[in-house]
Symmetry: C2
Subunit: 232 residues, 2 copies
DNA sequence: CAGATTTCTTGATATTAATCAATGTTCTCC
DNA sequence: GGAGAACATTGATTAATATCAAGAAATCTG
């Protein structure tokens, strides 16, 4: 196993507080694996065998049902996914698919559960991580239930804008169909939502978005820190 | 403080594995309090001072925004709420309001965090609890994004039917406006959704619902264990 | 119990979002 | 560079949901 990325993993909130010994034990059975784009890593309903850490690339968390599918979240480096299923020794509630060529660290679920038995600092970090994840989903649910499609897009743009340096442009890291699914709308509707935002200073050119009048956009978006702020 | 309910609280998954000593410490600063119906217990944005345990009554978790409000969950005895905010020492993302006369155990947030430092078994129980809560919200989000209003109602009815003994009737424990908010629709739409379900053997008389042909309803609902099953 | 208040239902209409269909655009890869 | 595929946009239409308004039913209260 390539160890050059281990320090990055080790630096994650989730692993930072572990003893060296526990971390070494945890990595004992773990391994890195590369995947091409559009590979289904896990399917909802499968039993949770591994905890995944996205080290490179991008992974989409998907929910299926009613002959549809929707995107719940997009995971970027460096973050973990399907922690909750692993901890409960339960089946996955979401599927995961690579969006681009990705490198993932896979840690056997059993190792995680053992580490929790032995290392209280790790368990506490887990509590923080899960509490943060919980709050993240609550925010998504609030956004979905309280906002219209256009408002969801406007707020998403403002957050991305901030993330990318607030310099008046946003570059989409995912394609528009994925963004549409993430925001809970169809691709057609996303196009129309962008059209509506033209009146608020938004210009779209492929994956490059210009926010010429962010304050106008903010007026429409009615951002709410209890929905839009990242968990720290 | 009345101690007759402490065994019930102690029996909760969250507290069952604690040492007697930690539990005693935890209860040191805790107290029971009664509230009339329709009392706002906490408002979103407030800092998390207490962990709440619903011992009697019913509490509604609410999210606000865009001059609207929606119900995220209804908490019944015996369960805790706003655990995640307490653990992250963050502001609440949801408000809470009693639906009926309720008795709550209030545990200072600081005590919870201290107990976690000292009692690894408690921390592990916390992990399980949070992972379960996370999965619960994911299910709500899936329901909201993948299903129509009528489908959400149909599935809610089937779950309630099972909970209540699957004897062909369901009694609503909450009023219809609250149910509507929980299911992400307006009260008017809930009425119409019930109307639609008449064609599937549903008869509504106030808070009493008769499911005369559950199999028909199941046909419409297309239930999915990865959305509808309770976390165990 | 009567009156007042709240909740629920129903109908009419408006708004929002999804679907279907066609076309334009971008990307891929030989 | 060009053919083919995937992705994105646009328009027309339909479907789902919300809003507004009114009335009916249930409930609270003195």
């Amino acid at each position: 196993m390539r160890t050059e990325d281990l320090p990055t993993v080790r630096a994650l909130d989730l692993f930072a507080a572990m003893s060296d010994e526990s971390f070494a034990d945890l990595m004992q059975g773990a391994f890195f694996q590369r995947f091409p784009p559009q590979v289904m890593l896990i399917e909802e309903g499968d039993t949770a065998d591994f905890l995944y850490v996205v080290v490179e690339g991008m992974v989409e968390m998907i929910a299926q049902g009613n002959e549809r599918e929707t995107t719940i979240a997009v995971m970027e480096p460096v973050s973990t996914f399907i922690l909750a299923a692993v901890l409960r020794d339960a089946v996955y509630l979401m599927s995961a698919r690579t969006l681009e060529r990705s490198r993932l660290l896979m840690i056997p679920a059993e190792s995680i559960r053992e580490a929790m038995e032995r290392d209280p600092a790790f368990t506490r970090a887990m509590v923080r991580e899960l509490a943060g994840a919980f709050r993240g989903v609550i925010k998504s649910l609030k956004s979905q239930k309280l906002r219209s499609a256009v408002e969801r897009l406007a707020n998403w743009l403002l957050v991305a804008h901030d993330d990318q340096g607030a310099n008046g442009t946003v570059t989409l890291g995912i394609d528009k169909r994925t963004l549409a699914a993430l925001l809970g709308m169809t691709p057609e509707n996303l196009s129309r939502a962008f059209g509506t935002l033209r009146g608020y200073g938004i210009e779209v050119a492929g994956r490059e978005i210009v926010l010429s009048r962010p304050d106008d956009l903010r007026g429409l978006a009615k951002s709410n820190p209890l929905i839009d702020d990242r968990e720290t």
